[in-house]
Symmetry: C2
Subunit: 397 residues, 2 copies
C-alpha cells in the first residue's frame, strides 16, 4: 500500500524531495457500517419540549450549520403534539370516506402499487420564527429562531389520484385529514385550494419515511403550513364543511390588528434568512461571503436582495441553481467588507414568482398587531459591529 | 386531546356514527432526538470487506428499497481501500503545490471563507455492476449488483478557484490528487479534462461531510468515476505528467478485446437500471408500475426507453422532474400487464444529452472482451415468469 503515493511527487514539480508521510497513511482506518452516522461533533437539533410531555414540542433544524438546499432526515425539524407513534406498516391502513362514491380502505401495499412522483418541497411550521414577534431581538443563531423549516425530496402517490379512485361527490367542499398520533391531529382543507403536486408521501430523501416524519404515510401539500402535512395519516374525510378541530380554530389562526381572526390561512408567505454569518460569530476582517435560504408557499423564488446598510441600498444576491417551486433556494452574495470596518446591518429580502415581496417587520406588525403567534415572514436582520461581532437586530428600529 | 378529532365526522358525511378510536390515539408517542434515526427495519447497506481488513471493501446502496433521486448520507455507497481515517478538522490542511506560482497550504477556515456553490451529482464506482461481466446472471436485487452508485447534493468551493488562487504554471498538464487515508490514494487527471462545476466538497446533502465520505474535504468532479472523487483530500500537485500510481495503472484501466488497455477512462457512460420490480419479488396480477434510475457522466438524461418483450419493442418512460446534468434521473412507466400474464423480459435503455445510447450487453462484450472489470454500463434486464416471479436475466441470451 502507498506504492502509488510514493510515485506522486515528480522531479521538478516543486514538491519537497523528502516528503513527510501523513500519520493517517500509517494505520488502516475505521470500518464500514450498514447505516452510516454523522460525526459525533456534527450539527444536531435543539429539542424543546413541554414539561412532563417529552413527545410534545419541537426539534429545531440547525440552519446556521447546514448548506445547500436539502436537510438530512435526521436534522429535519420536528413538531409533534403528542409524540411519535410506532405504527405497524402491516396493520396500517388509510380510510377514505365521507362524501365519496366508493368509501375505501387502502393498505400500504395498495398505495405502493399506484403511480408515484418525486418532488422537492419545504415544510415550515406556522409557528416558525415566533420569537421575532417579541419587542427585543432574541440573541440566538438562526437555527434556534427560524429552524422550524426544512426541505426534502418527497416521493409518494398523487392525492388527486387517491381522491379520483374513491370518487369525490359533487357536494364535497372540504378535505379533513386525521393523523394517528395521540394528539388526534385533525385539519380541514378547502378542496379547491389543494396545491398542485399534493401527495401522500411514502419516502423522504430517498428512503421510506421515518417514524418521526410520519411513517408509513403523510400528507405533502407543497407550500402549505406544516400542521396540514399530516403525519401518520389515518383518515381522509370528504365533507361539505370543515371539522373545526382545535387545529382549525384555537391554533393556527391569525388575529389581525383590526380584530378579525383569519382562519385556514394555510399558504405560507415569501421568506428569506441569512444563515451565514450567524449570531455569536466574530467575523474576520475583509470580504465576507453571505449565504442564506429563501422559499415561498406560492411559487418559486425569483429574486433575493441584500442590504448591508440597514435597508437603504439593496443589491441582488446570486441564486444558486435553477428556480424551484415551493422548495428552498440558496442565495449567496459577496460582501466587500473593508479591513477597517464600520458597523453594519445586513438583511435579505425575497420576491416570489407570484410577485409577493417579503415584508418589513414594521409593516407586518402594523397589519397583524393583536395577538400574533403564527406566520412570521418579515425581513430578518443581523447587526455586525466594527470588530466583527454578529448580533440579531431589527431592521426598522 | 382528541377534541378536534371528535368533531371530524360530520352528519351526512357517510362516516360511521360510532367511530373506533385508533389505539395510537390513547397513548402519547415517542420522544424527540437531537439526531433522528431511521426505522430499525428500514433499508440498510450490504457490507462486503476483504478478509482481515474490515475497512477495505464496499458498502452497497439498497437501490431497490429507495425512491426519488437522492440517497441519504447513511445509505450512500462507500468504497474504501484502507478504512475511514479520523481526521482532526483543526489540524487538517490542503497542500497545493508543484507547477504553481504560489504553493499554498489551505486550512479549513480559509476554504470556508471562499465562495461556495451547491450541485446535485452522482458518484459511481468504476467497479459497479461488475458481477454482470459473469456469463450467468447473478440472482440478487439491484442494490447488491449495481448499488455502488448514489446521488447527493454537494456544496463546496470551486476547484477552478483554488487553482486560480495558487496560479497554475503554463507547463502544468496534470492534476494529481492525494487522499489522507492509509491506502495512499493517489489519482491523476488531465487538467484540460476537469468537468465544469468541479469542487472541493465540504457538505453533502446539507450537512458537513461525514468521516465515511471524506471529512473534512473531498473532490467532487461531476460525471467522473468514483476513485477520482478523492476523499480526505490532503494534497493537490500540478505536474507535467501523471503520477502513474497504482490507481492510475494497475486498477481502473480497461483492457479491450483488441489487447489495448485504456487508461484514465474517467468519464462514466450512460446507464439505467430498473429498481422496481427487483429480483426475488413476486408480482401480483395486473398493471405494474416500473421505476428506475438513469444517469450519465457526460450530461443529462434525455430519454429512457422501456421494453417488456426482451428488446423487440421499446416505448418511452416518463422522466420524473427536470433534466439534471450528471445527476440521477428517476424514470417511471406503467406496464399494462394482463391478469393472464405471459413470461416477459423487461429492461430500460437510456440516452444522454451527448447523444450516447446505453449499449446492449453483447455489444459491450464484443468491444471489451479481454479482462473486463470496470465501467459496466450495458442494458440490464429482468425476466418475469407467468406467475410473477422476478429474476435477473441477460437481454441478449
Amino acid at each position: 500500500m502507498g506504492g502509488g503515493a510514493l510515485a506522486a511527487p515528480q522531479p521538478g514539480d516543486g514538491a519537497s524531495g523528502q516528503r513527510t508521510m501523513p500519520p493517517s497513511w500509517r494505520t488502516p482506518g475505521g470500518e464500514f457500517s450498514n447505516y452510516g452516522q454523522p460525526s459525533p461533533d456534527g450539527p444536531i437539533r435543539w429539542v424543546s419540549t413541554e414539561p412532563g410531555a417529552p413527545g410534545t414540542g419541537v426539534a429545531w433544524t440547525p440552519l446556521h450549520e447546514l448548506e445547500g438546499t436539502l436537510v438530512p432526515n435526521g436534522l429535519h425539524f420536528e413538531r409533534h403534539h403528542a409524540g411519535i407513534p410506532a405504527l405497524d406498516s402491516q396493520a396500517w391502513h388509510l380510510v377514505v370516506e365521507g362524501r365519496v362514491t366508493r368509501p375505501s380502505t387502502l393498505d400500504l401495499a395498495t398505495l405502493l402499487r399506484m403511480p408515484r412522483h418525486s418532488r422537492q418541497a419545504f415544510i415550515e411550521c406556522a409557528g416558525n420564527s415566533s420569537a421575532l414577534w417579541r419587542p427585543e431581538p432574541v440573541q440566538a443563531p438562526v437555527g434556534w429562531l427560524h429552524g422550524l423549516v426544512s426541505c426534502s425530496e418527497w416521493t409518494g402517490v398523487s392525492l388527486r389520484q387517491v381522491l379520483d379512485r374513491v370518487g369525490v361527490a359533487a357536494s364535497a367542499r372540504w378535505l379533513i385529514a386525521e393523523g394517528l398520533d395521540a394528539a388526534g391531529m385533525t385539519v380541514s382543507l378547502p378542496l379547491d385550494s389543494l396545491p398542485a403536486h399534493s401527495m401522500i408521501a411514502l419516502y423522504q430523501n430517498g428512503e421510506p419515511l421515518r417514524a418521526a416524519h410520519g411513517f408509513p404515510a403523510r400528507l405533502m401539500l407543497p407550500g402549505l403550513e406544516g400542521v396540514v402535512q399530516v403525519k401518520w395519516l389515518g383518515r381522509l374525510t370528504l365533507s361539505d364543511r370543515p371539522a373545526m378541530s382545535r387545529f382549525d380554530t384555537v391554533a393556527y389562526t391569525d388575529l389581525q390588528a383590526d380584530g378579525v381572526s383569519h382562519r385556514f390561512t394555510r399558504t405560507l408567505g415569501v421568506k428569506s434568512l441569512i444563515t451565514s454569518p450567524f449570531v455569536g460569530q466574530r467575523l474576520p476582517c475583509g470580504a465576507q461571503e453571505l449565504s442564506g435560504l429563501a422559499w415561498s408557499g406560492a411559487g418559486a423564488i425569483t429574486r433575493v436582495d441584500i442590504t448591508v446598510d440597514g435597508g437603504r441600498r439593496w443589491w441582488p444576491a446570486r441564486l444558486d441553481g435553477a428556480a424551484r417551486d415551493r422548495a428552498f433556494t440558496r442565495f449567496r452574495a459577496t460582501w466587500p467588507r473593508g479591513v477597517a470596518s464600520e458597523p453594519a446591518v445586513i438583511a435579505s429580502r425575497a420576491v416570489d414568482s407570484a410577485g409577493r415581496v417579503q415584508p418589513r417587520r414594521r409593516e407586518m406588525l402594523r397589519r397583524r398587531g393583536g395577538d400574533p403567534r403564527y406566520h412570521y415572514n418579515a425581513v430578518t436582520a443581523l447587526s455586525v459591529s466594527a470588530d466583527g461581532g454578529v448580533a440579531h437586530g431589527y431592521l426598522d428600529e
